[in-house]
């Protein structure tokens, strides 16, 4: 019984984390760069 449960977990795990399942990227996968923030330029002398 234990073996069966372990096997099931393994199969499920593989299915969920399989690299071919790139569902996420189809939407807005990427953050397109860090630095969404607007910080402006350095403070100049004078």
């Amino acid at each position: 019984m234990k073996k069966k449960v372990l096997m099931m977990c393994l199969i499920l795990g593989l299915a969920v984390f399989s690299p071919s399942m790139n569902l996420a990227y189809a939407s807005d996968y990427s953050t397109h760069g860090l630095g969404y923030e607007d910080v402006g330029p350095p403070h100049a002398r004078g």
């Binding site: 690299p19 071919s20 790139n22 990227y25 189809a26 939407s27 807005d28 996968y29 990427s30 953050t31 397109h32 760069g33 860090l34 630095g35 969404y36 923030e37 607007d38 910080v39 402006g40 330029p41 350095p42 403070h43 100049a44 002398r45 004078g46």
Partner: protein, 428 residues
Amino acid sequence: MHIGSRIRRLRESRGLSQKEASSGIISTSHYSNIESGRFEPSSDVLGLLADRLDVPVSYFQKIHEDDPLLQTLLTQYEELLASDIKAIPQFIEKHHKRFSYISSIHQEIMFHLLKYTELVKVGRIPDAQAHYSSEVAHIPQAFFENASRSLLEKYTYTSGVYYYFKKDYKASMTHFEDALLLTIEEPLSAKINYNISLALYKLYDYGAAHVYAKRAKEQYLHMHNWGRSGDCYNLIAALYLAQHKPTEARRYIEKGFSVLGSPMSETHGRLYHNLATVMMKENDYALALKTVNQCIDLKKLLKCTTLFDSQLLKLRILFRLGDLLALRENITRLQVSIQNELEQANLDYFEAKLYHALGEYDLYEQKMKNCIVHLHENEDWNALKDAARHLSLHYETNKKYKNAFKLQELCIEAYRRLTMELKGGEEK
């Protein structure tokens, strides 16, 4: 720095060989020894060389002596930078002859540092960078070991700004740290603390950046400089945003708005931009859209240089909202205002993703490839890693593993270059 280095720079700028510069005056080997500083030329030779290089002979004399009258003019120039920047062209024109060939090496450097600051303050960053590269960058660091505190402090500060715009943030931070040790004025120390924080933010060292930003904020508040205090609140908010802490970011944005009051300034525009980002992180896309629109309107009104960044943020929000029609409309509208290749590449990225969402994969591949080429050419590694990864995953899904592999390699290359930038670019 000696007379020889000044003669060499002049000769090179005139496009002359050592032989051409010295023929009929002295032997080429003697001339070469003068340029390298091994021989001190006589005043007769200096006169003839000045004639050959088409400069007044005074430019080759008293190079280690400061001219008191010129010193007064340089002080006036520095004061105008703080009080009345618009009056500077007229001031320079009036004293054109005095500023043309400055004998004292110290005063000449001082003049160029002030000129750089002037160009930065009027927003002519590419001109400023070119000016520093041609007039200041060649000076060996060792020269400044004997310079006055005032010159050294100006040099380290200005170099900090130069390297910041050059995107060498490590060098920028090092110079600002040196400047901080040399400064005795609180207004200047506040600015340096702010700039160090900014450089650390670019180096992703958020913890240290917080320390400097908060120090700068306290100093500006103490001086009742509300505009600069607003900048500090905005920077701290940006740091929290980068650390994925939108609640804290919002708190600082609100403080920023309250300390700034009215009328509207560029800092208001930045605060609106960051507020929209906070809202996006909190998944309130409708409100984020309203805020980014406010931000764009204000930035247009004030002709802010970061307008395009906010327009990209709007595209990001529309993407999250799933409003593909509005996204297409906005992309088309932005196409006409594109200023350079990098902006085009960033826009291509969104257009490619739009095609992807619409299932138009051929157009998607074409746009994304185009975008990647331009991001690579313009060395935007941060955006490149995302674009390359996106296209790689697309190829992988379609079982085009060879293409996917190539793009993953490009992605790794982008990460490598990013790491190099963090280290100060030593592997270049």
